[in-house]
Symmetry: C3
Subunit: 207 residues, 3 copies
Amino acid sequence: MTGLLPLIEWVGVAVFALTGALVAARKGMDPFGFVLLGTVTGIGGGTLRDVLLGARPVAWIMDPTVVLICTAVSLAAFVSAHHFEREGRARTLLWADALGLALFAITGTATALASGAPPVSAVLLGVVTATFGGIIRDILAGDVPLVLRRDVYVTAALAGSTAFTAAMAVLPLEVAAVLGFVVGFGLRALAILRGWSLPQYGQRADE
Amino acid sequence: MTGLLPLIEWVGVAVFALTGALVAARKGMDPFGFVLLGTVTGIGGGTLRDVLLGARPVAWIMDPTVVLICTAVSLAAFVSAHHFEREGRARTLLWADALGLALFAITGTATALASGAPPVSAVLLGVVTATFGGIIRDILAGDVPLVLRRDVYVTAALAGSTAFTAAMAVLPLEVAAVLGFVVGFGLRALAILRGWSLPQYGQRADE
Amino acid sequence: MTGLLPLIEWVGVAVFALTGALVAARKGMDPFGFVLLGTVTGIGGGTLRDVLLGARPVAWIMDPTVVLICTAVSLAAFVSAHHFEREGRARTLLWADALGLALFAITGTATALASGAPPVSAVLLGVVTATFGGIIRDILAGDVPLVLRRDVYVTAALAGSTAFTAAMAVLPLEVAAVLGFVVGFGLRALAILRGWSLPQYGQRADE
């Protein structure tokens, strides 16, 4: 296990950057707007994780690989996004966001556990890492954050993060990471495909 | 004085978590949405304080007591909030927010003073700690931040923080903390009860 | 070169604080609202820069000069802003924001380079420092962030930051700073005066 976590991180960064760029497309931004929104979305979750853990400095400042990934993905989206229909872009955004959510839940939790955090904090940090990039993206774009609009969203991050934390007690990291990813992404995917939702407050109150 | 500040912190965390959960109720969120919004609101101010002071990591990562408090309060709100009327929930939110504001102004200022910050910075950090959780709550929920809507809000935090800082020069911490709380909460309470407001820019300009 | 960077920082803080206070004027806030919004806008970019670089604590906590600058500017704006027309205030906000943008792009980049960050990270940190104060200001006030509304905005920060970084390789800091400022501010000024904009996604897609 040396290469799995960075690989997960890079893929997560790339797909979140893509979601940022797709929002930039919807807002009709210029190329630098694509890069800014793509980059902030791609590195936002990991940056907050590093800040909360007390990194000095945060990881991308000394190794800007993830910044370059975000720039490349955002520019590729700028030159190619108009080949796809609006509907296709919305679907891509939803699935890329789901993928990033499940991947970042693992890296956030793994990083926290590696620095000695107790399980409950590690799980919370996983959820925060997974959701923060998308929250910044939506706030900057003036949208209601996806985290509040979609059902089984936070829940999926929490389930993936919890499954990973529990599995880490008895399984090697690689297996635990795959398991956590399958749980988190699977739950979110089922929610998207089947329109699943949990009992909401309003529904309870109205009964 | 070993137990007063943590106690103030815990009560502040609990009441701010309650305000986050009440906003989640108004938005008709699912249980995990309650927990996320309650937790972010409850620990948001203290987290920013720790980050600005350079904590590595922020306090709740190594001792997640406050996370557990937020989770418990949020779930309790989910299962019980529908027993109360909308009007009662709005009033509870307003008063819990006022209580958290006054309490966090003290802990933010005290922590800054304890780490050697000069008084003016300690007062600003108190205000930031007191207002930030509520700001995140309102932004995440898509509302105009309470800090901008209500009069004598920032002012109350600033008065409590300033009174506490001044009192610390001549009084023991416990007495100064009680004094600062009375000033901050009292001012905010009077503002709520009597509809107090300061002269605003628009009023001046129109005269 | 001992005094140039702090001087640039102070001027940048003052003009950004002014933009925050002008937004407070438009929202009809009370004096403490002016000070809060002015201060958060003035120190926001530098605070994020310090946090990302791992400062402990952030600079203004130990030396609150910039906090005092923000307070003074905000109060001066409160007592004087109603002497000016709405139109004049909007123009002042736009130009003060442009000035702060160009100045903070330099200080953000210079601070990152001084702490050993590679050029691409230093440029990104310059852009983040330059834009973040204005982003917080607009989000707190419930406006769509200027960074997303105006063309050649991020671009100007990026150009100034890149020009400064490139010039630092061959020129003394003072000269590089002046060059970077001229590039960044000049580009933004031309964009404001001539209504310049880059090709946007929507335009491309519609053609």
